[in-house]
């Protein structure tokens, strides 16, 4: 509507309660500051600094050249589900029927969202570790559920414990959501700790949603697939993807593997909201699974080298840092500077042009910590450490 003076009256938009219930990023100010500064070394990235291996890209290009551009089956190409089933059996000793127990999703992110919408009713509680990946509590809230935060701390290597979980279980608890190796901490749960959580899930008849997107990125420890634990397959929603292991973040291919009733419910939602994952991304994923895995091994070895450099480097400059055994993040404490995580990150960015992510972005228990991603070149890591060293020296108290 136009008034006589010529200015347009702005319409007040109605936004749903559901959308209003989830919070925008708590570090908006930091993001805005970052976009205004040039020449920053960023340890705030969240994806591999590798390009997808050529043989995977090539197979997607071939499929486009051949004109394979139509929709695929909603649940994903049968060949991809079959390959994935074979892969999961070989790698993690879990048997999932490609027809009915596997769903190919638009990234592990969609798999997480679908899971929540498929199994969480309004008012249901979902237990999540704190700090954790930012999407966890938002996906629970969007599904009408209530996220229940379990504090983890540096003293216990940010590993969620069954004992702590049990204290928070109520008759409203629907599921436990765990994501190990963890973003942002790099923590990995041992077989024993996972078995303890499995015992709880059995005792209280809970579903466990296990986000294993970083399963390939473990250093010097065994990775245990939660669904492979005794009697857990029937109560686990196993979430995975191709983004981290195969450097396929932009392709948006992930999966969920779970009992057929759960996959059935997820499939229903997925077919109406997504139809199917991009065809060429699925072709690429097939090649990723079938092709030579050497590139994954080399990438993991490379990350391991950088992990050792960054952890040693952070400790050398006077920050306490527990040793992360997975993913590609270090989560050092900045408490010795008496600044909040956000203050530290902002000042570091302004004074030394190094970007790290304030731990507070990932939950209350992340306050006093920063997330440093080492999926970046060694020269950049070394230069960032040099600048951070100057900064810490300046602001460290006592």
């Amino acid at each position: 509507m136009t008034t006589q003076s010529g200015t347009q009256k702005h319409r007040k938009q109605h936004i749903s309660r559901r959308a209003n219930a989830i919070q925008p990023s708590g570090i908006r100010k930091f993001f805005d500051l970052l976009s205004s500064i040039d020449g920053v070394i960023s340890l705030g990235v969240g994806e591999p600094d590798y390009t997808t291996p050529w043989h995977i890209r090539e197979s997607a290009i071939e499929s486009i050249e051949k004109g394979q551009t139509m929709y695929t089956s909603n649940s994903g190409m049968p060949e991809l589900r079959k390959e994935l089933s074979r892969f999961l059996k070989n790698e993690y000793k879990v048997d999932y029927d490609p027809t009915g127990e596997i769903l190919i999703t638009v990234g592990c992110s969609e798999a997480l969202d679908l899971t929540m919408r498929a199994i969480v009713d309004p008012g249901d509680e979902v237990i999540i570790p704190n700090p954790c990946f930012v999407a966890y509590s938002s996906c629970v809230t969007l599904a009408g559920g209530k996220p229940v935060n379990i504090p983890t701390c540096e003293a216990n290597n940010f590993e969620i414990s069954a004992a702590d979980i049990e204290k928070h279980i109520t008759n409203k608890t629907r599921a436990i959501l765990i994501g190990y190796p963890s973003n942002p901490t790099g923590a990995v749960l041992s077989h024993q700790k996972l078995a303890d959580i499995a015992a709880l899930a059995k005792k209280y008849d809970l579903t466990v949603i296990s986000d294993e997107i970083y399963s390939k990125l473990v250093y010097g420890v065994e990775f245990t697939c939660f669904a492979s634990l005794p009697e857990m397959k029937e109560r686990t929603v196993f979430l995975g993807g191709f983004s981290k292991a195969y450097a396929m973040t932009g392709w948006r291919v992930g999966y969920a593997a779970a009992p057929k009733e759960i996959i059935g419910a997820m499939h229903k939602i997925h077919q109406y909201t997504m139809m199917c994952v991009s065809t060429m991304s699925q072709m690429a994923a097939i090649e990723a699974l079938k092709g030579d895995q050497e590139s994954v091994t080399e990438m993991v070895e490379d990350y391991n080298r950088r992990r050792q450099v960054i952890v040693k480097g952070l400790r050398n400059i006077g920050l306490s840092c527990f040793e992360p055994k997975g993913a590609f993040y270090a989560f050092p404490s900045i408490k010795s500077t008496d600044m909040t995580s956000e203050e530290f990150a902002e000042k570091l960015l302004e004074e030394e042009k190094v970007a790290v992510v304030p731990g507070s972005a990932f939950g209350q228990c992340g306050e006093g910590y920063i997330r440093c991603c080492y999926a970046t070149s060694l020269p950049d890591i070394e230069e960032a450490l040099k600048r951070m060293g100057r900064f810490v020296k300046k602001y460290k108290k006592g």
Partner: protein, 160 residues
């Protein structure tokens, strides 16, 4: 352990023992000792930079010469290869399977120099029956390095 050091040095010959120690969890002393032994045992032969001479605008021509040998009484292929590799122009010499016996990589300031080397030196070596010269016209990739830098997509600076 030595394998880890070799992989790092092969990728970056300038990596210092201190940096290698940080990357592998070994001590600097252990790394230095292993490197010295590898050098003494000629597991590590040399450290070098991979140079794109086309960009350096230097006069620098490369050619692959396929060499067919005449098997000679009492003289194996090794001694012929040795005779060839003693020439500094022969940068690489390999015994290969297939239609030729040796593959020799030769460098020179220009085509003439290489042609002269082949016709006046290489062809006259006892045992050399035939040479097939292939001049390298353009280098696309060498030792794992792509010559023309590919445009790399910039990552999002912060992703939660």
């Amino acid at each position: 352990m030595l394998r880890d050091i070799l992989k790092i040095l092969e990728n970056d010959a300038r990596a210092t023992p201190k940096q290698i120690a940080a990357m592998t969890g070994m001590t600097q002393a252990e790394v230095t000792k292993l490197i010295k032994k590898a050098q003494d045992d000629r597991v590590i032969l040399r450290y070098k930079a991979i140079v794109n001479w086309d960009k350096a605008e230097n006069e620098h021509v490369l050619a692959w010469i396929g060499v067919k040998l005449e098997p000679q009484k009492d003289v194996g292929f090794d001694s012929i290869a040795e005779h060839i590799y003693r020439y500094p122009q022969a940068k690489s010499v390999y015994l290969v399977s297939g239609t030729v016996d040796l593959l020799v990589m030769v460098t020179g300031k220009n085509n003439h120099e290489i042609a002269d080397f082949v016709s006046q030196k290489l062809s006259h070596i006892d045992g050399v029956k035939e040479t097939i010269t292939q001049f390298i016209l353009k280098r696309y990739k060498e030792d794992g390095e792509i010559m023309e830098a590919e445009e790399v997509m910039k990552r999002q600076a912060v992703v939660l």
